[in-house]
Amino acid sequence: MEVSMPQKRYYRQRAHSNPMAHHSFENPVCPEEMDWSQLYPDFFTEGVSDKEMSRVEFADIGCGYGGLLVELSPLFPDKLMLGMEIRVKVSDYVQDRIKSLRASQPGSYQNIACIRSNAMKFLPNFFFKGQGLVYTITDVEEVHVWMVKHFTEHPLFTRVPDEELVDDIIPGRLGSCTEEGKKVQRNGGQNFLAIFRRIDDPNQD
């Protein structure tokens, strides 16, 4: 088994992949049938009851080369994190990177994994409905404005104000630990952050 760190130059792929095209993915039919033990073997050892079974709590949609996953893994060692990436080469890179990290630092990085899939179509196949937070970040201001507009207009989301994020260690890392984030820093660009919380339907009778 190849355990040396993968070299990015063999896994380069252009940034855009059409999510509307019919790629073939190996998706679980439904969240109940997803076998997480393949991705997080240390967390799903024999004898663990259904109640004690861990669930993925962080999902990086479009995880790219895995920078955020690798950064957050040691900060939340008990939380399972999943990166979803549609590009073949890039998702393979992350999988190889995680394999290599796990081998070189036994006991570490067992809580992160990457899967190749189209989140726009198949997110419900992997995850049950839940509450939680959505962290968005971009260096393109128009994209930020667009995301803020749509999340704000959506009755099921509300923006989390900065004051409430004082104790959250994630926002500070978002802009610096990914490939794209580092590129923005190098070029002296700006990152636009917006965080939203899922709320109950205000229009529900």
Partner: protein
């Protein structure tokens, strides 16, 4: 800059898929609206009264009003030629629960509403943004919901028949069917990826649940009268599944392969086209494409496996469509010039064919001239067969190349290792030999190797 293999692939495949989706839905379909028998065929909707000798009603989409051209349409003038030659085929039609309203969607993006309580009247022709695949009236009959190929659902008012359609909800995958829970609380949509989504009707952005379990596209949906908290679905994976609507929980799955006769190819999954229910809810009929039988199931709520196979009706030809009339008689429409319609009644525990009935002759007589105008090739086309999951895989290609690269790297390393080891060994030997007076090889000789 070199484009990735995936991108080249997508650019080639997506236009191909788009072409496949342009074909018509059911080339011919049958339904009932009170005592009126509805038949759609090509661009025509024909309504024939089954009991009385009344004039038939025909609506021909090819002569219906076209969308008024806006400034934007004029600027897209390069599309003008193809627009004129596009067919006006009917893609889907639906009847309201009371039988007083009918609506259809055609290939030219029209949504047409009809009133038919005492006489037939085309009440309005409205236009949609994308081609529709299915429509359904709310049980309150105040709204018409339309599902389209881009994955969106629009609502058209029945009370205000000229009011423009309103976008209600959307998703990425193409929708194939739509229905409502009997209390109109939930909109249920089925897509080409096999997902069924249950959304709150008054707040459709709020997804109540997903019914996940089908491996292929879902074409048929039915909320049974016998159990209104349940949903029946039929798919290209050859199964009919029973779900609890609110929780999305899969209660039962019925594999239609078990009904197949041994002569037919076993490796081909039957694709479910239609699931229908008799008016009293006692019989549920399932039609699969290119299969000359109808499978009947019953819903038994007190039993563990609630969906129970009941009987199989063998037909002389593969049916184009099936429907129950208001009296519970089963109508089967077949592509056979001698006998287009077979009518069955369930008597003494079996389906008995009404050999020669006045109803059938009246309807056949009215329908034949319309049917003859449609080309044979279009009559039996089933567009959703193109939706079966493709087996091409861009991952395999990449993995092969990767393995090759890793092997080459390994060989290179091994070779380098051997060379280094040899060099090291020889150097040590040479050093030892230098210490003694005689040496068999000179250091210069190493360079030549």
């Amino acid at each position: 800059m070199l484009r990735s293999l995936t991108q080249i692939f997508c650019d080639a495949v997506v236009p191909m898929l788009k072409r496949a989706y342009r074909q018509t839905a059911m080339a011919a379909a049958i339904g009932f609206c009170g005592d009126w028998c509805l038949l759609s065929c090509g661009s025509k909707l024909l309504a024939v009264h089954s009991k009385q000798s009344r004039d038939s009603y025909v609506f021909d989409c090819s002569i219906a009003e076209k969308k008024a051209k806006t400034a934007k349409d004029d600027s897209d003038s390069n599309k003008g030629a193809s627009e004129d030659t596009k067919s006006d085929d009917i893609l889907a039609f639906t009847v309201s629960p009371s039988g007083k309203l009918v609506a259809l969607a055609d290939n030219c993006k029209r949504v047409v509403l009809f009133h038919c309580e005492h006489s037939w009247k085309c009440v309005s022709i409205r236009f949609v943004v994308r081609k529709c695949t299915a429509l359904v009236f709310t049980n309150a009959e105040d709204e018409l919901l339309v599902a389209d190929k881009s994955g969106d659902v629009y609502s058209f008012s029945v009370v205000e028949p000229q009011r423009e359609g309103e976008l209600k909800m959307g998703q990425l995958s193409m929708l194939l069917n739509i229905t409502l829970s009997l209390d109109d609380n939930y909109i249920i949509t089925a897509d080409c990826e096999g997902k069924i989504r249950v959304s709150h009707r008054r707040s459709p952005y709020n997804i109540q649940s997903f019914c996940l379990g089908h491996n292929e596209f879902v074409t048929a949906l039915l909320v049974p009268l016998a159990g209104c908290q349940f949903l029946l679905s039929g798919s290209g994976d050859g199964t009919v599944k029973l779900w609890d609507i609110e929780s999305g929980c899969r209660l039962h799955s019925c594999d239609l392969n078990i009904f197949k006769e041994t002569e037919t190819k076993l490796n081909e999954k039957p694709t479910v086209c239609r699931i229908i229910s008799s008016p009293d809810g006692s019989h549920i009929g399932v039609l699969c494409s290119r299969v000359p039988t109808i499978q009947f199931l019953t819903l038994q709520l007190m039993v563990k496996d609630k969906l129970v196979p009941h009987s199989v009706l063998t037909l002389p030809h593969c049916p184009l469509d099936i429907a129950f009339d208001s009296e519970g008689k089963l109508w089967v429409m077949m592509d056979c010039s001698d006998k287009m319609f077979n009518v069955y009644t369930h008597k003494d525990g079996e389906w008995q064919c009404n050999a020669q009935s006045l109803e059938v002759s009246r309807i056949t007589e009215a329908f034949n001239p319309v049917w003859e105008t449609v080309e044979t090739s279009t009559r039996t086309k089933l567009w959703f067969e193109h939706l079966h999951k493709r087996s091409y895989d861009n991952v395999a290609m990449y993995m092969q190349k990767k393995e090759q690269r890793l092997k080459e790297q390994q060989l290179k390393r091994a070779k380098l290792q051997r060379t280094n080891n040899n060099k090291k060994a020889r150097k040590e030997t040479s050093m030892k030999e230098d210490q003694s007076s005689s040496s068999t090889r000179k250091p210069d000789d190493w360079q030549k190797e």
